[in-house]
């Protein structure tokens, strides 16, 4: 139901824009139908009322996503840290902005962020628009200014025309809206796991099936936080990762001021998790094998360590089974625009 109202509001807004414009033909922009891959049907996309998905906007956002002009010296695009082939991560422990400046956290995947209500590892952004806006001006990311951004994009006629038609003008905010719209279309499902759940018993081998049972068991508690079709509860927990470093990342406490949330980070999705190494908010675990070993030993001791994280005493075979299950979460990718 909800998407429908969103689109109605969008249509209305666009009509208002156009009637206020310079007398161009009035038409309702072609809306973009977000194709939800099999396995994710139960999830509710989060699309802001003031930034509905339209075909033109997604196309524009995709072009912007790969455009280095968003950064100070036109060398860094969103795709520098969110590389599609690496599951929209960057393969680095912590990500890198212009001039090789390093941020303090691992670039999280963008997959299925349309289903998330808060963004960033510490949840400090309420929308993807906020994320894009922050990245464009953050000193260690794109290091740009809104003014420079506008003057860099304006000479490109494709942009000036598209922005005029879709938003009325090029501005940091509208750039963020377009990019956020594109990022909302990056969805992944239709994995062997989803096909198995849909009744195709051949989709998972025995090891992966044993891994799935382990994953969902009370023995491991994995599914308590990595819950639901997107394998995340979108909540903040501590598994102790990075807490043994000399200056641990405070994480969620910076947003809430609540000391019990020190060292907590948002549960990431496990969709396409094989592509997104290294793992954890600090990229401290190089492989899935390391991740399983990490949880098997009960994470890293910390006052706010989640009650779900405890030594698991998994056999070597059980660890392999879990990894094989995680491998089965690799989506078909056919739902992402431009991926074909």
């Amino acid at each position: 139901m909800r998407p429908v109202t969103v689109f109605c509001a969008a249509g209305l807004l666009m009509v208002l824009f156009y009637s206020a414009g310079c007398g161009k033909k009035e038409s309702v922009p072609k809306q973009f139908t977000l194709a939800i891959p099999p396995g994710l049907e139960q999830l509710e996309p989060v699309i802001p009322v003031d930034n509905p998905l339209t075909q033109a906007k997604v196309v524009l956002g995709r072009k912007l996503f790969f455009d280095e002009r968003l950064s100070l010296d036109a060398t860094v695009s969103c795709a520098t840290c969110h590389i599609p082939l690496l599951g929209y991560g960057d393969g680095r422990t912590t990500s890198m902005g212009v001039y090789g400046l390093r941020s303090t956290r691992n670039a999280p995947t963008l997959i299925n962020r349309v289903f998330g209500k808060t963004q960033f590892w510490d949840g400090r952004a309420a929308s993807l628009e906020e994320v894009v806006l922050e990245h464009m001006v953050a000193a260690n990311d794109m290091r740009n200014t809104p003014e420079r951004l506008v003057s860099a994009l304006t000479p490109d006629e494709t942009y000036s025309q598209a922005f005029t038609e879709i938003f009325g003008a090029i501005a940091a905010e509208t750039v963020a809206q377009a990019v956020a719209a594109y990022v909302r279309t990056i969805v992944s499902g239709d994995s062997p796991y989803d096909r198995f759940m849909a009744g195709n018993t051949d989709a998972l081998d025995e090891s992966a099936q044993r891994g799935m049972a382990l994953f969902n068991s009370e023995r491991t508690n994995c599914a308590t936080c990595h819950a639901g079709p997107n394998f995340t509860d979108e909540q903040f927990h501590s598994n102790g990762a990075g807490m043994d470093s000399p200056s641990p990342d405070p994480g969620r406490v910076t947003q809430t001021g609540n000391e019990s949330e020190r060292g907590r980070f948002k549960t990431p999705t496990l969709r396409d998790v094989t592509r997104t190494a290294p793992y954890m908010h600090d990229g401290s675990l190089r492989s899935l094998k390391d991740v399983i070993r990490f949880y098997n030993q009960g994470g890293i001791a910390h006052p706010n360590l989640s009650a779900q994280v405890k030594p698991l005493h998994l056999s070597t075979q059980e660890q392999t089974d879990l990894i094989n299950f995680l491998r089965s979460l690799r989506g078909s990718n056919s739902f992402q625009p431009g991926s074909s």
Binding site: R69, D73, L101
Partner: protein
């Protein structure tokens, strides 16, 4: 410590200079001391303490006391000479005296308080026909001709550089990888910060190397270096590069000034101690891309014995030519000791004999039960940094071969081989990959897939070795540090060999990797740095034979 003879000589010269200076400044009072006394004041008439006073173009100096008073002892009789003075923060000053009985008062003018960003650069090229004095108008015969033949002059226009910047072949017409502008079509890059500093000071990220004009095209030009007041290296050399590490002092309209290595050339010159120090070169010879150290010759120097010994960049790359005794003849220049005049050769990777002087190679051959082992030792004997250094596309390749009396190659049974970047193809074309030998370079690669949906055809292609502007990591660094010796062994099967057998070793230098040269149609000759040949006669009893060729 083993310095080459050249450095020993320089060391001796330094020592002599120190003794002379000490003698001159402390002054040995003898009955017949003839000297000159006077005073140094600032523009307001206030005494300037701690100024260096000098009888121009000599080593006769003194320091002023708290009252600005000085006495230079033991000058002997003086006749119509200039007495000069300088202190940090001031222009050089000077007064001409008739003889030693004069009591000169030297007025030192303070440096301009602030840099003038609207200053118009002086053109280096001689043009005696117009009113304007260009650098080359007075310094044409020596300094200009030396500088205009070196890499600094061509830094903004070199076809090699421009082909890499634009992603074209050497003709500048045909698209060819690698190229900065192919990878970042909307970015001008920060190349200008070093390659066109006169333009870069206006915009650290926005200078298009294709849109330079006038003096900007002259690269690292006279006026630019001589306007550098100080160098303050920023810690992050990815974020800050070239001119961003420098403090310039360009004079206001209607004024002129130059920083130089002399404290005895009066206004508009000012002595700059830093211009003779290695750190003066560091802004452009120390730099990173994406946090990965790329240009490192300054830090390599800092970590080498050369830094301890005070053998600066300028000492080797701007050596006195030994002949020039006046660098502005007939234009107000004065006679000096040729050893006190640095040249502007700024020798570098274009100068083959200079390169060859940096390394020594020694090849030793051992034979045992049908196996011949060549041991090659390459020593960096004279470069105060790694060889090769800076721009990582520079590389050296060692080739080792054993040939019998019939001209037949002995089968190679060793492990060391020329890496893939030595060139895939026929050895006679200069493609040496896989041959017995070794490569010396800092080799970069791209750990992550390149992704640009719109330009997948060009950008999606990896280039190996990777150019430094891509998001790279260091695969290996096999270069040879100052005074380090690289030793490798090469084994050949000589059971079927006809004697005599000849073992040859050859070390070549290339300004770019072979595959880059092919892609870009560079016509660069290999520069032979060293060659060795060991002949093994038919029935030699000796088990070890040595060749030492530089």
């Amino acid at each position: 410590m083993c310095f080459s003879s050249n450095h020993q000589l320089q060391g001796c010269f330094r020592l002599a200079l120190v003794i002379l200076l000490t003698l001159a400044t402390t002054g040995i009072r003898t009955g017949g001391d003839v000297g000159i006394s006077g005073r140094v004041v600032d523009a307001a008439g206030q005494p300037v303490a701690g100024a260096i006073v000098r009888v121009q173009a000599t080593a006769m100096t003194a320091l002023t006391d708290a009252d600005g008073q000085f006495t230079i002892h033991n000058t002997g009789a003086l006749d119509d000479v200039m007495v000069t003075a300088w202190k940090l923060g001031y222009f050089n000053g000077g007064v001409r005296i008739e003889d030693e009985t004069d009591s000169p008062e030297i007025v030192l003018a303070e440096l301009h308080p602030a840099d003038n960003p609207d200053y118009e650069w002086v053109d280096p090229r001689p043009n005696p026909d117009d009113e304007v004095k260009n650098c080359g108008d007075c310094h044409a015969s020596i300094i200009y001709s030396q500088w205009s033949n070196n890499g600094h002059f061509k830094s903004a226009t070199s076809p090699l550089f421009m082909s890499l910047y634009n992603g074209k072949d050497i003709s500048g017409e045909v698209a060819a990888q690698p190229g900065y502008r192919i990878d970042y079509p909307h970015s001008n890059g920060n190349c200008a910060n070093c390659h066109a500093p006169a333009a870069a000071v206006k915009d650290y990220t926005g200078v298009d190397m294709n849109k330079l004009s006038n003096v900007e095209l002259m690269g690292v030009s006279c006026d630019f270096c001589h306007k550098v007041k100080d160098v303050a290296m920023q810690a992050n050399t990815s974020l800050f590069s070239g001119v961003q590490h420098m403090n310039l002092l360009r004079p206001p309209d209607g004024h002129q000034m130059f920083f130089g290595p002399y404290d005895d050339i009066p206004d508009p010159d000012a002595y700059s101690p830093v211009i003779s120090e290695s750190i003066f070169c560091a802004p452009c010879h120390e730099g990173s891309f994406w946090g990965v150290p790329i240009y490192e010759s300054y830090s390599e120097w800092l970590a080498s014995p050369y830094a301890e010994q005070g053998v600066t960049c300028q000492k080797c790359h701007m050596p006195p030519d030994g002949v020039t005794s006046n660098f502005a003849p007939g234009k107000g220049g004065m006679e000096r000791d040729p050893a006190s005049i640095p040249s502007h050769f700024q020798l570098g990777s274009r100068d083959s004999s200079f390169l060859a002087s940096a390394v020594e190679m020694k090849t030793t051959v051992k034979r045992r039960s049908g196996k011949l082992t060549a041991r090659v030792a390459i020593e960096n004997v004279a470069a105060g940094h790694h060889v090769p250094t800076d721009q990582p596309m520079r590389n050296m390749i060692l080739l080792v071969a054993a040939v019998d009396a019939n001209g037949k190659q002995l089968p190679y049974i060793g492990e060391n081989r020329v890496p893939v970047w030595g060139g895939r193809g026929k050895p006679e074309d200069g493609d040496f990959a896989g041959l017995p030998g070794k490569g010396f370079a800092k080799v970069l690669f791209e750990p992550n897939p390149l992704y640009n949906a719109d330009r997948a055809s060009l950008k999606g292609k990896h280039v190996f070795p990777a150019p430094q502007w891509r998001i790279i990591a260091i695969k290996e660094d096999t270069r040879i540090a100052a005074f380090a010796i690289d030793v490798t062994e090469y084994e050949f099967d000589m059971k079927k060999a006809e004697f005599p057998v000849r073992v040859s070793s050859k070390l070549i230098y290339r300004r770019t990797f072979r595959n880059w040269a092919k892609m870009k149609h560079f016509d660069l000759q290999d520069i032979t740095l060293a060659e060795g040949l060991v002949r093994i006669p038919a029935r030699t009893e000796a088990s070890q034979l040595t060749s030492r060729v530089q």
